[in-house]
């Protein structure tokens, strides 16, 4: 027993050490700065936050935009959740997979996609201007709350859709029938039976969406303009533009405090959702489309859903092909040209190369550490759950907070890494690690000892058992985890923007820079780079969907 334990601590040692150095240490640095930023105990930062009308308005805006976004997302996703739970139709699996696409897209792709759709140069405005001979764009959504709400719905639609539709599919239709036999009409059945039973799932999904909207960064920074500022954006500005590190630390702590409360509430709810009262096989809960009304209802819903979720991405490609000379690939060819002739200019192609290198390192690190951690967690006789939760923590920390923590933790002795390029893939690894672990652990748990024993009694020697049982099962989980790590690294914006050195810029940073500069050429290049990032991410996601087996746990 003693020997086993030491082997276990050895397996967990590396990932835990990584977590301690690159998560808890920066976290501690933020704590230190928030309370002792100027040497002595100083609470003026917190005082300012809770008395200054400006910060109170930021807090208030952060909260209500998140609440409203969540509410609208739930309303938008409920019909599709019902359709997918109760009806059986062709193309269901594909449509379901397509809904995940927006959620997995980097913010730095989604924001340009919404600019491509609704921006002054966007496809809708151009079409309307041509159609009605207008001189100025009629749709003015940029820098307003509306485009933020739309982008948030677009982003988190699939969370509500998936969680609620799974819960709905597991709901016994017999209960509704019983209520109808007792005299309830359809609306009554929905209000008195369906809704109360679905409520835990809806609440859990809402909380998750709320957390994402509360800490949303790229969407607000790019689409919200100068006036619409959330806590996350404020932390970024205070740290990167105002260099008021103690105040930024205090803001970070306030945000961490709120998110921790939400996450705690979410995990309590989640536990209730994952234990359905009565599971029913699908052929009982699902039925084919029969009446014309049903068909119209389903088709109209699917069309709206897919149009809303896929149009921004499609339009992004269209706009990337639009140049001053009409349709063409010029925007893509221009990616390696120094159009401004500036000496400090770094070509987007260099950013692409940097991003690919960072992504490669992230994948290698996240998979290696994730495998070790997953083996450690599944083999641990005691404390497996604790380690599991520990490794999930980075997921609960916003990207800007993480980047900010790195700035203050690794810019002074004893760990002065300011010049270090590798902090970027390290930060990406930290964000990706929980997802790698999350995809590998259930797979490892699936390999119950009796699978190996069954293989042995069928004549497989121990090497053969590993090759035939362990490897193929874990392999797919590793592919899924690796793709997650790859997409996260390629698209990571919040942390990277704070810690990347200017000469090692990445694709998201280059897109952000292009968006901030005037002129059609810059706009075109931003679109081209975003479209490229989107296509690569989509290809990776497609690879992952193929590797995924069965219906795994959701979120």
């Amino acid at each position: 027993m003693r020997a086993r334990f030491s082997l276990q601590s050895l397996i967990l040692f590396l990932p835990l050490g990584f977590l301690a150095l690159f998560y808890f240490y920066p976290f501690a640095a933020i704590l230190g700065f928030a309370f002792f930023g100027n040497g002595a105990l100083d609470l003026s930062g917190f005082q300012a936050i809770f008395s200054d009308p400006y910060y109170l308005s930021v807090l208030w805006f952060t909260t209500w935009q998140a609440a409203l976004s969540t509410l609208l997302t739930v309303i938008a996703a409920l019909p599709a959740a019902y359709i997918f739970a109760r009806y059986q139709f062709r193309g269901q699996t594909l449509a379901r997979a397509l809904t995940t696409l927006p959620f997995l897209m980097p913010t730095i792709v989604v924001a340009p996609a919404f600019i491509a759709l609704f921006g002054p140069r966007g496809i809708l405005n151009v079409a309307l201007m041509n159609l009605f001979d207008l001189t100025s764009p009629p749709i003015q959504l940029l820098d307003t709350i509306w485009i933020i709400l739309l982008a948030h719905i677009f982003y988190n639609y699939t969370i509500v859709f998936r969680i609620v539709s799974t819960a709905w599919a597991n709901l016994d239709p017999q209960l509704g029938n019983a209520a109808r036999m007792l005299g309830a009409n359809r609306p009554r059945v929905f209000l008195e039976i369906t809704l109360p039973l679905l409520l835990p799932a809806i609440l859990a999904a809402s909380l998750l969406v709320f957390i994402f909207d509360f800490t949303s960064f790229g969407v607000i920074l790019i689409l919200g303009g100068a006036r619409l500022v959330t806590l996350e954006v404020e932390i970024y500005r205070t740290a990167a533009n105002l260099f008021d590190l103690p105040l930024a630390a205090a803001l970070s702590l306030v945000q961490i405090f709120f998110t921790l409360i939400f996450i705690f509430a979410y995990t309590r709810l989640q536990a209730r959702v994952t234990a359905p009262a009565r599971l029913r096989p699908q052929h009982i809960t699902k039925r084919a489309l029969k009446t014309l009304g049903e068909k119209i209802f389903v088709v109209a819903n699917l069309a709206t859903m897919l149009c809303f979720l896929l149009a921004p991405l499609g339009v992004l490609i269209l706009q990337s092909l639009q140049t001053a000379q009409g349709f063409g690939l010029q925007n893509y060819f221009a990616l390696h040209e120094n159009t401004r002739g500036s000496a400090t200019f770094i070509a987007p192609t260099d950013a692409i190369r940097n991003s690919l290198v960072f992504a490669g390192v992230t994948v290698a690190l996240a998979v290696a550490l994730g495998l070790l951690a997953a083996y450690g967690i599944t083999r641990a006789q005691k404390g497996g759950g604790l380690f599991d939760a520990l490794f999930l923590l980075p997921l609960a920390t916003s990207a800007v907070t993480l980047g900010f923590g790195y700035i203050i933790a690794f810019s002074r002795a004893p760990l002065d890494f300011r010049a270090a390029v590798w902090l970027v893939p390290i930060a990406h690894t930290l964000v990706a690690l929980p997802l790698v672990i999350r995809s590998v652990v259930p797979m490892l748990r699936q390999i119950r000892p009796n699978l190996r024993e069954a293989a042995a009694t069928l004549g497989a020697n121990p090497t053969r058992v590993f090759r035939e049982i362990d490897l193929p099962i874990v392999e797919r989980a590793v592919i899924v985890g690796a793709v997650f790590a790859f997409i996260i690294s390629l698209g990571e914006f919040g942390a990277t923007t704070l810690i990347a050195r200017p000469e090692f810029t990445t694709i998201p940073l280059a897109i952000y820079r292009f968006l901030g500069q005037p002129g059609l050429a810059n706009y075109g290049q931003a679109m081209a780079l975003s479209a490229l990032l989107m296509l690569v991410s989509a290809a990776a996601i497609a690879l992952m969907e193929r590797a995924r087996v069965g219906e795994g746990a959701e979120f």
Partner: protein, 358 residues
């Protein structure tokens, strides 16, 4: 032929198996029967080589298997929870053992096809199916096919029908016995369900508290249980503890045993008694007459019929006595709740040992 020799195994410092020995002859189906937690599965795992015994040997065809790893034993084992490989489809699951024998692709294809048909699955329909999406019964059949396909020289079953409902279990047990006999397979089958064991076994081994309580054909165990434990396990519950025992010689020269109990005196021929006589067991068909007044001094129960029910073409009556309820088959007239004397046939009374306490 399989020989289990003096196997002992401790679990958490408590003895789980104590000095177990038995043989399984070629072509024989032996059922290990016993309540759960008695070490049946552990014994199976020791035979499979998945666990090591603390003492004793497993010998097959004269060879000690001590140093033979599980994959080299050529045994088949069907697991309680089936252990189908979730990442392989039906065909790949069934083909696994054949691939381990380096069989040719053609041979694998024909053999898998044949085995699937053998267990009652249409190969054309099922070969490509995902094992995770099969019904419980279909998964059982795939697991059986996977175990049979590599032609194991000895096959073991660990409560493979446990998850099914009673009727289906009974049906599959009959089907499985027919199949095993047709293939001439030697098998060791573990179950806690006596009906399943009766349907399957050539020979039963009743295991409890790590020891073999009794072994024999189903008929032997039912007609000649050696202990109160075995009797109860076989569904024979008419047991009365013996308080005093005496031996007497009749004028004819025969020896008789007399047992004094709470509900009267029982007397049987000495040949019908066991080595240890601690309980009286009137068998279900022991009643000769039900009368209002009896002149008999022994082999008579006093009590009232408190219930009747039909069981397999017989009327079963429940007789309440001072020492609790007795169950008999009795097709005569019944008057409920009247004090009566139940005269018993001495040839349907056994004296047996107590055995393990349940």
């Amino acid at each position: 032929m399989l020989q289990i020799q003096n196997i002992s195994k401790n679990y958490n410092d408590a003895p789980l198996l104590r000095d177990i020995s038995f043989d399984v002859a070629d072509g024989e189906i032996v059922c290990l029967l016993g309540p759960s937690g008695t070490g049946k599965t552990t014994l199976l795992r020791i035979v499979a080589g998945l666990e090591n015994a603390d003492a004793g040997r497993v010998v097959f065809d004269g060879n000690n298997l001590k140093n033979v790893p599980p994959h080299a034993r050529g045994f088949g084992l069907m697991f309680q929870d089936l252990a189908l490989f979730p990442h392989k489809n039906v065909f790949e699951n069934v083909a696994f053992g054949l691939r381990m024998q380096n069989a040719s692709a053609h041979e694998i294809a024909t053999r898998v096809h044949k085995t699937l048909e053998l267990v009652g699955l249409d190969a054309a329909v099922f070969a490509k199916r995902d094992v995770n999406h099969l019904s419980g019964g279909e998964q059982q059949r795939v697991a059986l096919a996977r175990t049979l396909a590599p032609r194991p020289r000895f096959i073991m079953f660990d409560e493979p029908l446990g998850a099914l409902d009673r009727l289906l279990r009974q049906e599959l047990a009959n089907e499985l016995r027919a199949l095993l006999k047709r293939l001439g397979l030697t098998a060791l089958y573990v179950t806690h369900d006596q009906d399943e064991a009766f349907a399957l076994a050539d020979r039963l081994i009743l295991l409890h508290r790590g020891k073999i309580q009794q072994s024999g054909t189903p008929l032997e165990l039912y007609t000649q249980p050696t202990s109160a434990f075995v009797a109860r396990f076989m569904g024979l519950n008419n047991l009365v503890e013996i308080r005093e025992l005496e031996t007497s010689e009749l004028e004819t020269g025969d020896w008789k045993l007399r047992a004094r109990t709470e509900v009267g005196v029982f007397e049987i021929a000495k040949e019908r008694a066991g080595k240890e006589n601690e309980f009286v067991l009137p068998r279900p068909r022991a009643i000769e007459r039900v009368v209002e007044h009896s002149a008999r001094a022994e082999n008579v129960l006093r009590g009232k019929i408190v219930g009747t029910q039909w069981r397999g073409g017989h009327q079963q009556i429940v007789v309440e006595t001072r020492a609790g309820k007795f169950f008999f088959e009795w097709d005569g007239a019944v008057e409920l709740n009247r004090e009566r004397f139940f005269e018993l046939d001495a040839r349907e009374i056994q004296f047996i040992a107590q055995g393990e306490k349940t």
